[in-house]
C-alpha cells in the first residue's frame, strides 16, 4: 500500500501556541508529588510544559521512572496535578475523564466479551447504546485488520491482535486525543515492529491527535511529528525536537543522515540527564510500583 504512494507530502505544520491557535492539549507548569514510604514527598514531575496540536503525533521519551506515565494519567484525568494546569481545547477547568482515549501497556480486554464487544466497551461506558456502538466498531474493524474476528474471545487471540482490539477500543472512546502509554512495551520485538508500522498506517488515515509515551527513541522518530525528552525524576522537559520526516513514513527513513543525527542528539539528551540526576534503577522501579 505505502509503496504505491511514492509522492511525499510536506509535513503539516502543527498549530501551537506560537501561531496563536489553541492547541488541543496544553500542559502548563505541571508538577506532581507523591507520598513516599517514610512520610517523605517524592516529586515525580516538575514544571512540565507541553502541547499537542490538532492532528499532531507527539512522543514523550524518557528513562524509566521519570514520570512520563504519571503525566499521561494526569492528562487522562485519573489524577490532578499538584501545580499547573492541563487544558483540553483551551478549557483548563473541565473534567477530563471520559474525554481522551487512554491506552495502557496491557491490553486489559474483558475476557468475557468477544472482540467486537471489547472494542465497544469504552463507548458503552460513555452511555452510547450497544447497537450504535457495535455499528461504529464494525465500521473500523476491517481497517484494524480484525475482520472476521468479531466473535472471538480475547483468550483465543494473539498478543498483537489483542493490542489492536484495545487500540480500536481506545480510538472509538477517545474523542480526538489518544494517550498511548508504551502500547507495544509488552510485546516481542517482531510483533512490536509490525504493530509500529501498522499504527503508522492507521494513524496516517485517522489523523487523530496522539500523545505517545515510550522509552524507545526509534519508535518515537518513526511515529511522531514532535518529540519531547523528559529528564529523570523529577521529570521536566529537557529537549523538544521536530522530526523532519514526510508522511507516509517507512522504517527505512530512519537511516537518513539527518534522522541519525537527531537520534544521536535525543540519545545524548537522555543519557546526559541520567549522568546529572542519575538515580539508581532500583529506586526508579520502586517508585513506579508505588505509583
Amino acid at each position: 500500500m505505502m509503496e504505491a504512494q511514492t509522492a511525499r507530502m510536506q509535513i503539516p505544520e502543527p498549530q501551537d501556541v506560537t501561531t496563536g491557535a489553541t492547541p488541543l492539549l496544553d500542559v502548563r507548569g505541571v508538577s506532581m508529588r507523591y507520598h513516599a514510604s517514610g512520610g517523605a514527598m517524592l516529586t515525580a514531575l516538575a514544571d512540565v510544559n507541553l502541547t499537542v496540536a490538532a492532528g499532531e503525533f507527539v512522543a514523550l521519551v524518557g528513562p524509566s521512572g521519570c514520570g512520563k506515565s504519571t503525566l499521561l494519567a494526569l492528562v487522562a484525568g485519573l489524577e490532578e496535578p499538584a501545580a499547573g494546569t492541563i487544558a483540553l481545547h483551551g478549557d483548563a477547568g473541565a473534567r477530563r475523564l471520559g474525554r481522551a482515549g487512554y491506552m495502557p501497556q496491557r491490553d486489559l480486554l474483558l475476557p468475557w466479551r468477544r472482540a467486537l464487544d471489547n472494542a465497544t466497551a469504552g463507548l458503552e461506558a460513555q452511555g452510547v447504546s450497544r447497537r450504535v456502538a457495535r455499528q461504529r466498531a464494525h465500521a473500523i474493524f476491517a481497517d484494524f485488520g480484525l475482520d472476521g474476528f468479531e466473535r472471538a474471545y480475547p483468550s483465543t487471540l494473539s498478543g498483537g491482535m489483542r493490542q489492536r482490539v484495545a487500540f480500536a477500543r481506545t480510538v472509538l472512546a477517545g474523542g480526538d486525543l489518544l494517550l498511548l502509554d508504551e502500547p507495544f512495551g509488552a510485546l516481542d520485538a517482531l510483533t512490536r515492529a509490525g504493530l509500529q508500522r501498522w499504527l503508522l498506517d492507521v494513524w496516517e488515515r485517522l489523523k487523530m491527535s496522539c500523545l505517545l509515551v515510550t522509552h524507545d527513541v526509534e519508535e518515537a522518530l518513526l511515529l511522531a511529528d514532535r518529540i519531547y525528552v523528559l529528564s529523570p525524576r523529577p521529570g521536566h522537559v529537557q529537549l523538544e525536537r521536530r522530526v523532519p520526516l514526510a508522511r507516509p513514513r517507512q522504517p527505512e527513513m530512519l537511516a537518513q543522515p539527518d534522522i541519525l543525527a537527531l537520534k544521536a542528539e535525543l540519545l545524548a539528551a537522555l543519557s546526559e540527564g541520567m549522568e546529572v540526576n542519575g538515580t539508581p534503577m532500583v529506586a526508579d522501579r520502586r517508585m513506579e510500583a508505588a505509583q
Binding site: 474525554r99 496491557r106 476491517a142 498483537g160 501498522w198
Partner: protein, 298 residues
C-alpha cells in the same frame, strides 16, 4: 489438562495492508463448531466418569459378598440387592418425599443465593459495612446448626420455614465469601481504564466487577448446592412431617434398614443431580471462561 480447548495459534502475522486483513493466522478447532464441541464434551465426561464407575462397581460387589455372609444380620447391614428391592417397592412414597425435600432445597438455596449476593455486594460497596458485617457473618458460621435446628423447629414449626432457615444458614456463607473475594479481585488497572472512559462506580460494578466475579461466585454456588440438600435432610431429621429426612428417621426407628439406605441413596442422587445442574448452568453462562482451555469443575 490445559491444552484441550486452546486454539491452534500459528505465528503472529500483521496484515500487510490496511484493507486485506485475511492473513491473520489463527485457527479455531473447537468453539466455532457446535458438533465438535459437544463431541469433545461427551468424551471429557466419559473420561471423567469411567474410572469412578469401575471403583464403585468393585465396592458394591464387595459389599454384596460381605453382607451375604450367613453371620450378617440384614437389619444391621442389608445387601445392595435388598436396598435396590426396597427402593423399587417404596418408589411411590420415596418420590413424594423427594419432591418435598427438593422444594425445601430449592427455596432454601434461592434465599441463600439472594442473601449471599446481597451481602457480598453491600460489603464490596462500603468498607465501613465490610468491617461492620463481616465479623457477624463469620460468627453466624460458628454456631453449630445441630444445636439450633431443634430451636428453629420449635419457633417456626414442622413445615417449610424451619427447613429454609437451616439451609440458608448453611449455604449463604460460601456464596458471600466467594462473591466478595471475586469482586475484590478486580484488576485495579482495568478499573482505572474504565474511569478514563468516564464510567461511574455503578457502571464499573455492572460492566467490570460483577462479570469478572462470576467464576468465583459459581465456585461458592457449587459448594452451597451440595450443602443445601444436607441442610434440608438435617432440618427434616430434627422435626418434620414429610421429606426424605423424615422418611429416613421413620425407617430407622422401625429398623427397616434397607428402606433407610434406599432413601439415603435417593438423597445422594438428588445432590449429584443438583450439582450437575449448577455445573451445566455455569458452562452455559460462562462460555468465555471455558474458552480459555479450562475443563469444567466436575
Amino acid at each position: 489438562m490445559t491444552t484441550q480447548l486452546k486454539p491452534v495459534k500459528s505465528q503472529e502475522v500483521i496484515p500487510s495492508s490496511f484493507t486485506t486483513p485475511e492473513d491473520t493466522g489463527i485457527a479455531y478447532p473447537v468453539h466455532r463448531n457446535g458438533a465438535l464441541a459437544s463431541l469433545e464434551w461427551g468424551s471429557l465426561m466419559a473420561r471423567a466418569i469411567v474410572p469412578a464407575l469401575v471403583v464403585l462397581a468393585a465396592l458394591v460387589a464387595l459389599w454384596q459378598w460381605y453382607a451375604s455372609q450367613p453371620n450378617i444380620d440384614p437389619q444391621q447391614l442389608p445387601t445392595p440387592l435388598a436396598v435396590w428391592t426396597a427402593l423399587l417397592s417404596e418408589r411411590d412414597i420415596l418420590w413424594q418425599h423427594t419432591l418435598v425435600t427438593l422444594q425445601e432445597t430449592l427455596v432454601g438455596f434461592g434465599v441463600a443465593l439472594a442473601a449471599g449476593v446481597f451481602f457480598a455486594t453491600v460489603i464490596d460497596f462500603s468498607p465501613w459495612l465490610r468491617r461492620a458485617l463481616y465479623p457477624l457473618l463469620v460468627t453466624s458460621q460458628t454456631i453449630p446448626i445441630i444445636t439450633i435446628a431443634p430451636l428453629l423447629v420449635l419457633w417456626f414449626g414442622f413445615g417449610l420455614v424451619s427447613k429454609v432457615i437451616v439451609i440458608t444458614l448453611i449455604c449463604f456463607f460460601p456464596i458471600v465469601v466467594a462473591l466478595a473475594d471475586g469482586l475484590r479481585a478486580a484488576d485495579p488497572e482495568l478499573l482505572r481504564l474504565y474511569r478514563t472512559f468516564g464510567a461511574g462506580a455503578v457502571r464499573i460494578f455492572w460492566s467490570v466487577r460483577l462479570p469478572g466475579a462470576l467464576p468465583s461466585l459459581f465456585s461458592g454456588v457449587r459448594i452451597a448446592i451440595t450443602y443445601s440438600v444436607i441442610g434440608a435432610i438435617f432440618g427434616e431429621y430434627v422435626g418434620a412431617s414429610a421429606g426424605l429426612g423424615y422418611f429416613i428417621e421413620l425407617k430407622q426407628h422401625s429398623f427397616a434398614t434397607a428402606a433407610e439406605m434406599a432413601a439415603i441413596l435417593v438423597t445422594a442422587v438428588l445432590s449429584i443431580a443438583l450439582f450437575l445442574s449448577v455445573a451445566l448452568i455455569e458452562r452455559l453462562a460462562l462460555p468465555w471462561y471455558y474458552a480459555q482451555g479450562r475443563e469444567s469443575g466436575l
